[in-house]
């Protein structure tokens, strides 16, 4: 795998993270379901997952950058496993609406597992880590730049969303209203 192909795959990974964050927002706004603290932590880990690919696009692929994404995916895997186990008892209806037959935290668990496998697969290709030409720096193209700013913008929207939902105190375990919009 060449360096440029690896960067392209990292950019596609950024678009995948942007898609996950967009779907989470769509479910929140269209179904009027506020994310619980554990749900927010999983959403956060999807955003954190994007930091490795951003660094790969900016400085070129390095094993250390993939390690950052692996750490984020492992943490997200643990968080979503915790929530799956909370609702594993027979008769438990689960938290929130099921999407494609699975609750969000189950889909998150599958997503983080897929990320761990895909990032590990990327690390198998050593050629991407070999420098191409002496001190040559390829500026990120428009496709990559849009992907990076899209993920940053969606994460920034989550800053606003969580501020509206939780207010300035601790987030409710089972939120049903936006704390900052209660008076309106």
């Amino acid at each position: 795998m060449t360096r440029s192909l690896a960067i392209t795959l990292n950019v596609l990974g950024l678009y995948a993270v942007a898609l996950v964050l967009t779907v989470a927002f769509a479910a929140q706004l269209l179904l009027h379901e506020l994310p619980c603290p554990l749900c927010l932590l999983q959403r956060l880990q999807f955003a954190v997952l994007a930091i490795g690919p951003i660094m790969n696009v900016r400085w070129g692929p390095r094993p250390g950058h993939y390690a950052l994404s692996l750490l984020a995916a492992a943490a997200g895997f643990a968080f979503s496993t915790r929530q799956v186990l909370l609702h594993i008892m027979p008769g438990d209806a689960g938290y929130g609406t099921a999407l494609l037959g699975y609750h969000y935290y189950t889909l998150a668990l599958i997503g983080f597992a897929a990320a761990i496998v895909l990032i590990s697969a990327m690390l198998l290709f050593d050629r991407q880590f070999e420098p191409e030409g002496a001190s040559k720096f390829d500026a990120p193209d428009l496709f990559a730049t849009v992907a990076v700013w899209l993920v940053i913008a969606l994460t920034a929207l989550n800053v606003l969303s969580t501020l509206l939902e939780c207010g300035f105190g601790a987030c409710a375990d089972n939120p049903v209203v936006y704390e900052l919009l209660k008076r309106w």
């Binding site: 554990l38 956060l44 955003a47 954190v48 400085w59 008892m89 994460t155 920034a156 800053v159 105190g169």
Partner: protein, 52 residues
């Protein structure tokens, strides 16, 4: 409030990764990961309301 801070910190790390220096981004990432795991552990120690 802690989640607002965590998402804000993530935006800052992303901006550092995109525009700042590499060591700065790596250091901020470590702090962010520790903070998110600490938040998880804080919530994981909540009493579970089991129904059996």
């Amino acid at each position: 409030m802690e989640f607002t801070a965590l998402f804000l910190a993530t935006v800052i790390v992303m901006l550092a990764a995109w525009r700042g220096s590499r060591p700065l981004a790596m250091g901020l990432f470590a702090a962010l990961l520790i903070a998110s795991v600490a938040t998880y552990l804080h919530h994981a120690t909540d009493v579970l309301k089991l129904s059996f």
